[in-house]
Amino acid sequence: MATTTAQMSEAVIRIRNLHKRFGDLHVVRGVDLDIKRGERIAIIGASGSGKSTILRCLNFMEMPSEGTIELDGKMLGTERPGNGGGVERVYAEAELCAVRTRVGMVFQQFNLFPHMTAIENVMEGLLTVKRMGKDAARDAAMGQLVKVGLQDKLDVYPSKLSGGQQQRVAIARALAMEPEVLLFDEPTSSLDPELVGEVLRVIHALAEEGRTMLLVTHELGFAYHFADRVVFIADGAIYETGTANGVLKHPQRERTQAFLARFAERAF
């Protein structure tokens, strides 16, 4: 039954009327988005436009203030009467933990565990969440680290790795959980320029495998080659969306054009 529903609904994630408020600040204002299996979406927009917050709602790093998220045709959370007379959604910790193993995330600041070596970082979720045995977890973690080209850094602590290497460990850590969807929140924004390439190459290789990925980025050149679809966010809502070629080369609307023009200026 569950599989039939999953097959029937093309979208692996379906977002409806997503809102996020931080106190009086209304950061995300009604986003609808369907993410198809195997699709690669780049989310672009100015700083403070709410693009990272949208991404962070998808694995509940931020709790949506309003709206619904479906994963594989299953609505997440349960409804209950809210304070203001309407309904609000509540999410149990167990459900969120399960969702997060299926929707992985790579952060701008890596967020590696400093008291663990590279391989221990990758093993951690396998040991504690997937409850794998130590040997199996080590083998699986090693496989992921080989994949990101860090086979010779297994027992090195994060502080002894470059930013690019740290981010690759973080990618391996997310991959180890075998997520169905991978979220990248500005994965190269805190890297020195010469280290950006190695991380983008890894992300590109993952894209080639047909993984479902969402990438929030300022690397428009990379977004162009990476994405099946580009979403331009302004004021917490989707302002323009289309193919990479459409949005980035031939933007139709004024603010998208202005945003891209600013980038073009900076490039020269």
Binding site: A94, R100, G104, M105, F107, H115, E124, V129, A174
Partner: protein
């Protein structure tokens, strides 16, 4: 000023002092081990968002931090029986007072440490599906122990010396034995010199090892 030091008396009483040293170590170990564990529990209550948990935790910490240890020990020995109708042995009263006092201080160290860990650590763990409890145990607390090692070391050193207050409840630890010998032979200077030396030999190896551990962890970065 003429004073002839005479350590012979002290050497004769060495078995007594060593017996006292054992009691001091017992007080120290019990209060430190139980105090740290209890302190962790209190700190978790203290940072909880639930008022019925953090309210009492705040009161607990503040009461123990803002009253003298000596008064606390005396209170547990003399007032506790009146309140609960159960007389405690001097050792139990002293151990209880020192333990609770240590737990209040270490709760504050734990709390400071937990709050000092960057939010990204929580997020990194959450993003791979770890629960709050798992994250606390596997990710946050190990880093807190590392970061707060100097503070915990200070607390342990302080506690080792504060156990001497138990002598006022007639707990036969080293200070008590020392005072007993002093007043018997009228050789307080010699006795106290040796007692001080014994405290030093007890405490210093621990602080030396802690400093070495700190350096090793720092080298790892």
């Amino acid at each position: 000023m003429e004073y002839t030091w005479d350590f012979k008396i002290v050497l004769d009483s060495l078995p007594l002092l060593l017996r006292g040293l054992v009691v001091t170590v017992e007080l120290w170990v019990v209060a430190l081990a139980v105090g740290l564990s209890l302190g962790l529990a209190v700190s978790l209550a203290r940072i909880s968002a639930r008022a019925w948990l953090n309210g009492p935790a705040i009161a607990y910490v503040e009461i123990f931090r803002n009253t003298p240890v000596l008064v606390q020990l005396i209170w547990f020995y003399y007032a506790f029986p009146i309140v609960l109708g159960q007389q405690l042995s001097p050792f139990t009263a002293a151990a209880l007072g020192l333990t609770l006092n240590t737990s209040a201080y270490s709760a504050e160290i734990f709390r400071g440490g937990i709050l000092s860990i960057a939010r990204g650590q929580w997020e990194g763990a959450r993003a791979i599906g770890m629960t709050r409890a798992m994250t606390m145990r596997r990710i946050i607390l190990p880093q807190v122990m590392r970061r707060m090692l100097p503070a915990f070391t200070n607390r342990a050193i302080e506690l080792a010396k504060v156990t001497s207050l138990a002598s006022l409840l007639a707990v036969n630890e080293i200070m008590y034995e020392g005072r007993l010998i002093s007043s018997t032979y009228y050789r307080p200077l010699e006795v106290l010199t040796v007692v001080a030396l014994m405290y030093f030999l007890l405490i210093y190896p621990g602080s030396y090892l802690a400093a070495r551990l700190e350096r090793r962890l720092a080298a790892r970065g």
